[in-house]
């Protein structure tokens, strides 16, 4: 049997695993019978250890489109198809994904298991809000169709449940109507954190909003940011050339990071320079333009394997959410990061809308995501940040996590007990399991 070393997007941790694949659902049962502990894995774009286990079941070949209602905007597919392939089919017909994260290279199964969110969370919620029904193949070999009305406990434990209830095999979800594939974009420079939070508030009516924040700035420019807002453009917003093909799917233009950069390349000076350039490229206080959906939603997808920029040791992405009333916590964490000078290319700030699901990450408040190259002193530093997150009633995103201590999970996810009960019901003996679930004491 073939074993190979695999890691998710952060290249940390790396582990030896035996990968199995399938093109037909009957083959999943064979794989389940041949293994004692297995987890479904899509395109490996979660950052940490969520889809790692002694055995992994790759869904990538299980990628067929089953149904597409072009009138009503309903889409049904097998779980291994990636969002970029879906966009190629739906955009020319005037539809868009109801929710998309910052990369289109994730599978639909992953979108459900992580219950991904996007720049429109405050308006449209997370991905699970658009799932009409799905099939979950349990460790017993039985397939159950679940929704908010059928096996609702299974449905809610599967949305954001990191693949622990069973193998998600089929998903049916609704789409968003678009008139063009372009985005009317507004970028506003904010001098500091106060200003960007005020701007988020003033621009709540925008469907899409997110800010890129420079965590290394201190003093009066602490938290300087660029707020990016967007709406799907109508025909009247396009110029003559764009109007020739209003539902154009942009051609693939990708450059690839061919190798791992040596770790020393990323240090606080290079990151500061990057952030300076990024912030400085916007001369004006405000920019308004119409761009293709690609650069607006997926700026980093243009650089294939950008994760290699963090070197062989990999990186951790740290994403937390704090309730709106905990702005002080956000300031405290940003101060810690700025003082530690640990470096991060990107810090992404977003204000979530209401959400109160069983185990999904989003809830109303501020969410901040940033990257840290793996270094010796990083882990104790993040443990310190965890304490602040907990103190302010926040929590961490499991799809980014590779190192949180179990008690942090149990204290910060208020439905953890209920989640575990449902997993025990549908996945008795935890034959479907991951190293993350064990680390967080969900499955032990």
């Amino acid at each position: 049997m073939m074993k190979k070393f695999i890691a998710n997007w952060g290249n940390f941790p790396v582990m030896e695993s035996e990968e199995k694949s399938f093109s037909f659902s009957e083959q999943i049962k064979d794989s389940l019978n041949q293994t004692d502990s297995i987890i479904a894995r899509g395109n490996g774009r979660c950052y940490g250890d969520a889809s790692l286990e002694k055995y992994t079941l790759s869904t990538l070949k299980y990628d067929k489109i089953l149904f597409f209602d072009v009138e009503q905007g309903i889409f049904e597919c097998q779980s291994g198809i990636t969002l970029d392939k879906i966009l190629e089919v739906i955009v020319p017909k005037g539809w868009f994904l109801p929710v998309t994260p910052g990369t289109k290279y994730i599978t639909v199964g992953g979108a459900v298991a992580s219950d991904v969110h996007g720049k429109n969370h405050h308006v449209d919620g997370s991905f699970s809000a658009h799932v009409l029904e799905m099939d979950v193949l349990l460790s017993s070999g039985e397939t159950l169709t679940c929704s908010t009305t059928q096996y609702p406990d299974l449905f809610w434990a599967t949305c954001g449940g990191m693949g622990l209830t069973g193998i998600i095999t089929r998903v049916k979800f609704d789409l968003k109507k678009i008139e063009t594939s372009y985005i009317r974009q507004k970028q506003i420079k904010a001098e500091n954190l106060e200003e960007v939070l005020r701007l988020f508030d003033e621009n709540q009516h925008y469907t899409y909003s997110v800010a890129w924040i420079d965590c290394l700035k201190k003093g009066k420019n602490f938290g300087r940011s660029i707020l990016m807002l967007g709406e799907h453009a109508g025909l009247q917003d396009l110029d003559a050339k764009q109007r020739m093909e209003p539902l154009k799917v942009p051609a693939k233009k990708q450059i690839s990071f061919p190798f791992n950069l040596p770790s020393f390349v990323l240090n606080q000076y290079t990151v500061k320079a990057f952030n300076f350039l990024f912030y400085g490229k916007n001369f004006k206080k405000e920019i308004n333009n119409v761009v293709s959906y690609e650069p607006f939603f997926y700026p980093l997808d243009a650089i294939l394997n950008w994760n290699r920029g963090y070197g062989k040791k990999g990186f951790l992405q740290y994403q937390f959410v704090l309730p709106l009333e905990s702005k002080q916590g956000l300031i405290e964490i940003l101060h810690r990061i700025s003082n530690a000078g640990m470096g991060s290319f990107l810090a992404v700030l977003k204000v979530f809308g209401e959400q109160n699901d069983l185990i999904s990450f989003p809830k109303k408040g501020y969410t901040l995501a940033l990257d840290f190259p793996v270094r010796n002193n990083l882990f104790p530093f993040l443990d310190e940040l965890d304490k602040i997150v907990m103190q302010y009633n926040g929590r961490l995103y499991l799809s980014k996590d590779a190192r949180m201590k179990a008690d942090v999970f149990w204290k910060s996810y208020e439905n953890a007990n209920k989640f575990q009960e449902i997993i025990k019901k549908y996945n008795p003996g935890f034959r479907i399991n991951s190293i993350q679930a064990r680390r967080l004491h969900i499955t032990q």
């Binding site: 073939m2 199995k20 093109s23 070949k61 067929k64 489109i65 089953l66 089919v89």
Partner: protein
Amino acid sequence: MPTVLILGATSDIGFAIARKFASEKYNVQLAARNTISLQPFQSDIQIRYGVQCSLHSFNALDFNAHSGFYNSLVPKPDVTVYVIGYMNDNEKVISDWEESLRTINTNYTGAVSILNIIAADYAAHKAGTIVGISSVAGNRGRQSNYIYGSAKSAFTSYLSGLRNKLYHDNVHVMTVLPGFVYTKMTEHLKLPPLLTASPENVAEAIYNGVRSKRDVLYVKWFWKWIMLIITTIPESIFKKKKL
């Protein structure tokens, strides 16, 4: 719109070929033993590429049904691709006559049975393309898989003869030697990445080969040279090697 027939559509390579041709605006006829399991493949091709896709029950080992199968196809395909193959562990195959027979019949006899019928039709109409997926394992028999290898060797010879005959009837016959491919069949093997193609690579090469009327297609070019070396080793030396 032209039509392509895929014999063996449930395999990773078969379906990759179907998708490639569909993306180039071919209507697709998918043939396999179990058409129910092909239904997701059908919807996928129709929705992604906006072409027609039909499902047909076909068993390579049911020789008597082959003529009826081909007669039932409407329209007749412009391109026929025989992707069906079967490989099991050689020790199991040689110790079990049923397995030997299955290996030979799936890789060779079944192909001859259906392709004879299709070749006759193409020759009569002075048009058509036949693609046979054979194997580099057929270039020289080795102790590790000589039943599979000899069946593929026979298939390669058949395609070569067919090409010679049908050349005069304006029918193109292409032999494909994929080398290692990442598929369900090879999932348990550790394959050298440089020498191994994805099913999509194979499909792309086949589509291009059909367009440019290639005779013999190695998907990864160095396989041609590897096989040249392997076939020129004198038998007196080759027989002593553990290959």
